[in-house]
């Protein structure tokens, strides 16, 4: 008997934030054109943009799973026990993309002015960004898996007493992936482009174009992750009792196989990409580092325990884990049994021919009972 006791898949995406903001910087055209002789022109433009994003996330995840399976206490032959438990946790994932990375700057055109003109264009831009992320995640997973096919009693019997207990197979998988992940993408190198055209002005004209750019970006990230994994496996196929029996006593105990897979991946990852943030440029790593606490650091408290009574811990490799203890059956025994049946049919035919007395000499077979 193979019983799938419980399959629990718990996926919690507790908090997922996406932030974006718009800047007031826009493409503009500043022109000084068509002035007469000795004119004095001046344009001064100042753009200030500032964004502050503050996100505070706090999440508590508690997984408490208890599985108990018992296929026999007093029966003589007990079936197999198989249980599989899967738990996946994910929490606090923030993604901030600056949509103003690829903006076009101002266009300056100083042309067709008379002689001896003085032209002055001053552009000042200040771009300030502050991103603050405070993430606190407490993930607690507690799994207690108790399987028993043993503890059978057969007392005071006459004749042969036989106790056969089934196998126990326990598979537990706990994954804590992407807990407290912050990603901020912007551009400090600034792809903002200025188009400046100074042409066709008269003799002795003087043109000054001043561009003053300031970019300031601050990313504060405080991630605290407390992850507790407690996995307890209790399996028993033995502890069988057979007393005061007058005949032979045979006790066969089943095998115990316990497989435990624990993964903590992508805990407290902070990515601040200030080199490129255009939508068609992605620098997101496929596998973020396991720990990148950022300012304030993170606290990781992973703990796990796995115990079994009378069992063995298998190497938790992906392939063996996927295939389990027995390779799948892909053949049919029908051909074998059909062949046996055909041989029997052939022998019966030969026997009947022999009994009839008309069988040719070469096929005469003496069969006596």
């Amino acid at each position: 008997m193979r019983e799938l006791l419980k399959i629990t898949t718990l996926t919690i995406l507790s908090t997922c934030f996406f932030f974006s903001w718009n800047s007031n910087a826009q493409a503009e055209t500043l022109e000084i054109t068509g002035n007469g002789e000795s004119a004095i022109s001046s344009i001064e433009q100042n753009n200030h943009s500032g964004q502050t994003v503050v996100s505070s996330n706090e999440v508590n995840i508690n997984n408490n799973i208890q599985i108990q399976s018992n296929t026999g206490s007093t029966t003589i032959t007990t079936g197999n026990s198989s249980s599989t438990t899967n738990v996946e946790n994910s929490a606090n994932t923030n993604s901030i993309n600056d949509p103003n990375c690829c903006i076009v700057g101002a266009s300056v055109n100083v042309s067709e002015n008379g002689s001896n003109t003085m032209n002055s264009v001053s552009i000042g831009t200040k771009k300030g960004m502050s991103v603050e992320s405070n993430n606190t995640a407490k993930v607690s997973t507690s799994i207690t898996n108790t399987s028993q096919t043993g503890a059978n009693t057969a007392n005071n019997n006459t004749g042969i007493t036989s106790i056969t207990t089934g196998n126990i197979q326990v598979t537990t998988q706990v994954k804590n992936n992407d807990v407290n992940g912050n990603t901020t993408r912007t551009s400090l190198t600034n792809s903002e482009a200025f188009n400046i055209n100074v042409s066709g002005n008269g003799a002795g004209s003087e043109t000054r174009v001043m561009i003053d750019k300031h970019n300031n970006m601050v990313v504060y990230s405080t991630n605290i992750a407390e992850i507790s994994n407690i996995i307890e496996q209790l399996s028993n196929t033995g502890n069988n009792i057979a007393n005061n029996n007058t005949g032979n006593v045979i006790i066969r105990t089943g095998d115990i196989s316990v497989t435990t897979l624990l993964e903590n991946v992508g805990i407290n990852s902070t990515i601040a990409d200030v080199t490129s943030c255009c939508p068609n440029i992605s620098t997101t790593p496929n596998n973020p580092p396991d720990t990148d606490p950022g300012r304030g650091g993170g606290t990781i408290i992973p703990s796990s325990s796995s115990t079994s009574s009378g069992g063995m811990i298998l190497g938790a490799t992906t392939l063996a884990y996927a295939l389990g203890e027995v390779l799948p059956a892909t053949g049919a025994n029908t051909t074998l049994w059909a062949t046996v049946f055909n041989v029997f049919m052939l022998l019966m035919g030969l026997y009947l021919r022999n009994r009839s007395g008309r069988s040719p000499a070469i096929l005469t077979i003496e069969i006596t009972f």
Binding site: L319, A320, A322, G331, A332, T335, T339, L346, L352, R358
Partner: protein
């Protein structure tokens, strides 16, 4: 009268056994041509081709190797990919399994693609096609094992392909494993 009846009945049984034997083993012994894949499977699906034994079949992905009722359904369509192992196109070890034989009345080339898997030898190629992209694997080892012998499957980090079917032919007594490396 009784002797005549026994004589004729004996003859019927002998002839019947010979005919039944021929019926059982004809699908196995006679050469069969591989069934071509549909255009949809070639373009967007996943398939396996083993030129050495003229085997071509669709691969059914993510089949639970624990659940016999599920993987038998998948095996009717072709080759099953064991859930949890690497998929075609991914790094890691791919585990595929398929029928070597079936009852004669159910047996077609489509659902027994690994009928001649025991003929595969070192150096033979296995082609895995996933959404039009083909990867080539070269056979480097083979084993016949009992169904519960899974210990040597421990190393699953290589880019490897494992093909499994039952052996001897017509039984589910043991398992034949073919190991191939990606080139």
């Amino acid at each position: 009268m009784q002797k005549n009846l026994a004589y004729y009945l004996g003859n019927i049984l002998i002839v019947g056994s010979i005919l039944c034997t021929a019926l059982i083993y004809a699908p196995i012994m006679l050469p069969q041509k591989s069934t071509p894949l549909s255009d949809e499977v070639r373009r967007n699906g996943t398939s396996i081709e083993i030129p050495a034994i003229d085997a071509t079949a669709e691969i059914v992905l993510d089949v639970d190797p624990f659940d016999k009722s599920k993987y038998l359904v998948a095996l009717d369509r072709g080759v099953a990919h064991a859930q949890g192992t690497a998929k075609p196109g991914e790094d890691g070890t791919i585990f595929l399994f398929a029928h070597s034989s079936l009852p004669p009345w159910e047996m077609t080339r489509v659902n027994t693609p690994f009928l001649s898997l025991q003929k595969l030898e070192y150096g033979h190629s296995v082609l895995i096609t996933n959404q039009g992209k083909t990867e080539t694997y070269i056979v480097f080892d083979r084993k016949e094992v009992w169904p519960n012998e899974v210990d040597y499957l421990a190393n699953s980090e290589e880019n490897m392909l494992i093909l499994q079917t039952c052996t001897p032919l017509g039984t589910s007594l043991k398992r034949l494993l073919i190991f191939a490396k990606r080139v």
